[in-house]
Symmetry: C3
Subunit: 348 residues, 3 copies
């Protein structure tokens, strides 16, 4: 069961909108998009990965987006694309467009007298905007958002309910920040003394580039002295922790629950799995790919795929493996001794 489209397109309209060639009944109407396996006759689907080729014979989808080479194996209605997945994303944007934003300032929003809120912005109930903040055109601040003093939010950003942006952060245009994310909390900085830990005031900012997306409940700490910086097009999933002074290059994507300790620099176009942990003060090369749950404890100077994941297995077997791993030193030493003794005695 797929969500019904917000707008109904014909096959021809969609092909034209995508700027792609098509084959089939131009007047065919689509009321939703759906995966190959569950799509119905009034739904559009797509094929990206050739491992799903066998589904072509079975799918009931009204039409498919697929690559010209796969198109030969399918004789139904089709839109041809060199990158079917990207065309699927675009088709989704046509079929399920964002609602147009109605400008509004809720009488229940509290906006500092010297804040500069563009008249085309939408500011919902219970939003607080601090002194000197700037809110660009077409920005949507949903219920309970807090914008701290001196913060700047660029054009067409969408901040979902409960987002907090503090510490004079700068957010460029077209960013999306999901509910309860916290941008600009203090970094974790303390100096050890005999009397315990002395707090190091955190005085840097968070700088987000254009088209950045930040997941729900994610935290991006302000810099300690300098700034924490995310480049254009960076996409961060939910519950991610980004420490102070981290720098992330453009178009890098980071999956849920990953944590990046302070001052680590991650390159452009990296793809980082979920629950990865980065130590602090590292440098990670452009284009690096890291498997989920890996621990990154050293610089990565060369792009490639990195992993330290241990796939879970039957717990009893695993306990034996761990026991053996922990005795490995002794076992190997004894084996080397035995091999050497046998070799020595056999060669005499």
């Amino acid at each position: 069961m797929s969500a019904p489209a917000r707008v109904v397109y014909t096959l021809q309209e969609l092909a034209v909108a995508l700027g792609l060639p098509y084959r089939g009944d131009a007047a065919l109407q689509f009321r939703a998009m759906a995966p190959l396996s569950s799509a119905q006759e009034d739904e559009l689907s797509f094929l990206q990965d050739s491992k799903y080729l066998p589904l072509l014979a079975q799918t009931r989808a009204g039409a498919l987006i697929l690559s010209p080479e796969h198109a030969e194996q399918y004789d139904g209605a089709a839109i041809w694309s060199e990158n079917p997945y990207a065309s699927f994303a675009q088709a989704m944007q046509f079929l399920y467009p964002e609602k147009a934003l109605t400008p509004w300032r809720s009488p229940d929003a509290r906006i500092a007298a010297d804040a500069d809120v563009d008249p085309s912005a939408r500011v919902e109930d219970f939003v607080q905007i601090g002194s000197g903040a700037k809110i660009g055109p077409g920005v949507w601040l949903e219920s309970g958002v807090v914008i701290g003093p001196g913060v700047e939010i660029g054009a067409a950003c969408h901040l979902y309910p409960g987002v907090k942006v503090l510490a004079e952060s700068r957010i460029a245009e077209h960013c999306i920040i999901h509910s309860n994310a916290v941008i600009g909390a203090d970094g974790f900085g303390f100096a050890q003394t005999e009397a315990g830990y002395e707090k190091i005031p955190q005085v840097g900012r968070v700088i987000l580039g254009a088209r950045v997306e930040i997941g729900a409940n994610t935290c991006i700490d302000r810099g300690a002295l300098a700034d924490t910086i995310l480049g254009d097009g960076v996409k961060i999933d939910n519950l991610v922790q980004i420490g102070h002074n981290v720098v992330i290059g453009a178009d890098t994507v980071i999956a849920g629950q990953t944590g990046i300790a302070g001052s680590t620099r991650i390159g452009c176009r990296c793809r980082i799995g979920g629950q990865v942990g980065f130590a602090g003060h590292l440098n990670i090369a452009d284009g690096t790919v890291i498997a989920g749950q890996s621990a990154i404890t050293h610089d990565i100077r060369q792009a490639g795929v990195y992993s330290g994941v241990i796939p879970a297995q039957d717990a009893r077997t695993w306990r034996r493996t761990i026991a053996q791993l922990n005795r490995l030193d002794g076992i190997l030493r004894r084996l080397r001794g035995a091999a050497k003794a046998a070799h020595d005695s056999s060669s005499t």
Copy 2:
């Protein structure tokens, strides 16, 4: 020091309420429940695990809930139960009942004109309820809760302060959602293009069954096309990440900080530890048990206990083990060579 009971019960009253036999002074009063080791004379305790049997001789508890077999080893006041831990849970519910909900609509809540809020609900200050939302009888929406347009909340749900429920989510009756949890944020879906990442609109919903409990700051993403679904009785701890299109079967429990990537299906009655990571598009059998911090990278077709945990140890020893692990390939090859050479030469 245990929290004082909100209601005082006698031994007899409690046994009757639990529907269980008892032994001892019917008029004995309980002012709290407490663990065996710290319980005082006016406190009730319980014994579940036989490893705590030695504590029976020492406990000062006024009475115990324990199984008939253990009851023979204890001559104090007692309530007999085949499942003492479950009876303890029930006794807690009697001694520490939820306060009755007083219906209320705060004048500081902002409720869309066409939202349908049952008159028996309690809606606190700074709550926002969107257009077309339905709030069932006896629902408690605490301060700062946001209910998006078209969301439905079933009878007797309790949403703690700061919870956000978005994206036309459906929540069945008797659910508990703890503070700042986010239900229905966008899933993490992007298509890679030459120009960076294209956002795939997320248009599915979140569907929660009855008696689901969701921990604080947990995120449950809306489906991409179809829905994200949690069955009846599912219990999720704090800071858990549940990706788009995940399906979780009834009565599965998941501990804190676990993450489940998109489209993974987890069976019924599974028990999942904390900080576990699931890759996407997996199938996990009913009744599976997974140790904390494990990585699940493949389907689990057979119920059982699974683990990939490495217990920490002295860091110097561990560094040696890791070094050996990384040289394992070469070491084993040399050993095999040596063993073979010795064997060959000795057998000539």
Copy 3:
């Protein structure tokens, strides 16, 4: 680029404020602090770690805080300190002081009639304070904070926007709680029955000592029967999960995304890395240090450095290592057999 200081100090003023000796032009003015590598002439820097000694020859900083021994290798303006990092922290506090708090009660805060809010506190818009709560002098409750019934907040605490403090928690003086943290949600307590899971009412509190700092989106659950307790000076980073009945000793620091299961007791002055997972019901010795991402599954009785981290590596190499690890049992058995056979035959 470092954040400009909020207050300008001369070298002499700063040395006097720190109570430390200095050398150089007393009238030298500092407009910021900065790292050695990027500091300019009007900026103050510091040297803690001798691995940065080579930077002394290159730094353009106007003056340095450094230890007397390192001072001999540097002939510029200097403040001498036995603990340069702690003196840096203090200098930051002088140069970047907190703004003085202006007492205020927003007309948009909702405060129970019987709550006791000190007149010197600052209570922002959309704050809700429950019945019987006590808010001490100089407390700052930012926008959207919720203080539950019966909660007590000590003097000079700062609760950032969106913090929720529930369940009659007690918070001592000078605590800092960052945005959207949740103090006092229910612990994860259920009893398994044939009909599913029975909720165990959570009735304990959270008790925070003085000078505790809690990171953004961190969760500290209320106790089940007794309390969850954090000692004086404990520092907790973002997105940390602390289960019910956990006890943490004074001056322990815990990095981001670490999780501590119920009833575990952690000693004083421990240093715990990020993404560490603790099983429940453990005891961890005072002064223990744990590397990030480690799994702690057993008591730690002796202070030391503990680790179970696997540094990520080239994914293909790692897959081979894992395969070998999983076949280790069989390989070692065969090698032992071969070594023994060779030895036997060679010794006949």
